[in-house]
Assembly symmetry: C2
Homo-oligomer: 241 residues x 2
């Protein structure tokens, strides 16, 4: 029951001992298959943590005015509800975009792993720190960029994160999101998302093929438009501990 993506991510933060790697790979209790558009976690008090193995999911909040805001996309190797391990509850929901395969890790196993290998607490903590950095980037994206720049930035981020876990070699990836979803992620209306990606396409920056495949045709120009700097996503090796 491989936890390859997670290991890959954590190994970017710190060097893991054989024993630590072993412990992590034995975390999952079972695998869960989730259908497209299905909720993975709602705002409750889960007793296990779900880890994305394949597929793409999103964190979201429903506002009272009927709107939805997606606050993050989750790619393989990402925890859905690590928050609840420490905080007890979830303050938001997570839903699968396309079909997802999840590993389920009971809280007690994670606590046991941390007890045996205290350094792992720092590794998992770093996951939350990256989450926070991504959120900050989204605040800036939604708050201070035009629709055009915003969409460009979002696509850059998703591609970069997929690439970091070894998915997407070339500059293309499958994104099982509707234009409505992209609107909820960027704070734009569905119609304006349509016009915006239309312009990105006209300008030769992206291409959308059948099966919801996104191609970034001109990474150079796209990052320029989006002002995309992956520094906030990059994880330097942990020194102390």
């Amino acid at each position: 029951m491989p936890t390859t993506m997670l290991l890959r991510k954590l190994e970017q933060v710190m060097v893991l001992s054989e024993s630590e790697r072993q412990t992590i790979s034995e975390l999952p209790e079972r695998v869960l298959h989730v259908k497209p558009r299905e909720d993975i976690v709602d705002t409750s008090r889960p007793t296990s943590v779900r880890l994305i193995r394949t597929g793409i999911a999103c964190r979201y909040t429903l506002l009272g005015n009927g709107h939805r805001q997606i606050t993050a996309f989750l790619v393989p190797g990402d925890f859905c509800d690590l928050r609840a391990l420490i905080m007890g509850d979830m303050d938001h929901a997570v839903s699968a975009l396309g079909p997802c395969e999840l590993a389920v890790v009971p809280h007690h196993r994670l606590f046991a792993a941390i007890k045996d290998h205290p350094r792992l607490a720092l590794a998992f903590w770093s996951d939350t720190l990256v989450d926070a950095a991504i959120h900050r980037d989204w605040v800036a994206n939604v708050g201070r960029r035009s629709a055009y720049e915003r969409m460009a930035h979002l696509l850059c981020e998703i591609w970069f994160r997929l690439k970091s876990v070894g998915l997407s070699m070339d500059h293309s990836f499958e994104l099982p999101a509707t234009q409505g979803d992209l609107g909820d992620a960027t704070g734009l209306s569905q119609v304006h998302v349509n016009r915006t990606i239309g312009k990105l396409r006209e300008d030769g920056l992206i291409r959308l093929s059948k099966g919801r495949v996104v191609q970034l045709l001109d990474w150079e120009r796209l990052t320029e438009v989006a002002e995309f700097d992956p520094a906030y996503l990059r994880v330097p090796k942990l020194n102390g501990g």
Copy 2:
């Protein structure tokens, strides 16, 4: 060299032993006084962590288009650059709004504290989890709320957080931010911030007195307008560990 606010915050998450409390209170190496508008941390590689003791600060990012986005306000008890403890670097800057008093905690002391009391790692981790929750809320705020609701929400959040650390008994607090700052926090222009708080004032929801004191005149209606639900800020007691 008291770390009262921090202790108060951490004790909301978990019960601390006398020894743990002692360790935390001995963390600060020195106190630092920072003038209004001065940077507390920039995007570099600090070797100590700064902790707000008094005053209000903000995290911010400068965008290439000349805009600034504030991604969070920091109140007493909050860490400025805990990220760098684990990640090595900062991906954003922190600046004082009004005059601030900071406690400086060298990284090695924090690592030592965690080594002696592994549960403290979970406590500090929870700080990052709350940060992430606040950021998510900001994404939703900026992405899916009108200027009017947005400003209301921001004021609710700041007041609630000040209240949780024992500042502000009544519904008023000092906020040493210009309307430009509030714009950078909400993703609005300075002019529109002016008109928006003008409307909040007209509607009898808030009052701005001399010395930058904000008064929330009608908490009931304000939370309704803002759809403010402090659940995401509340920290349930830690069960495991």
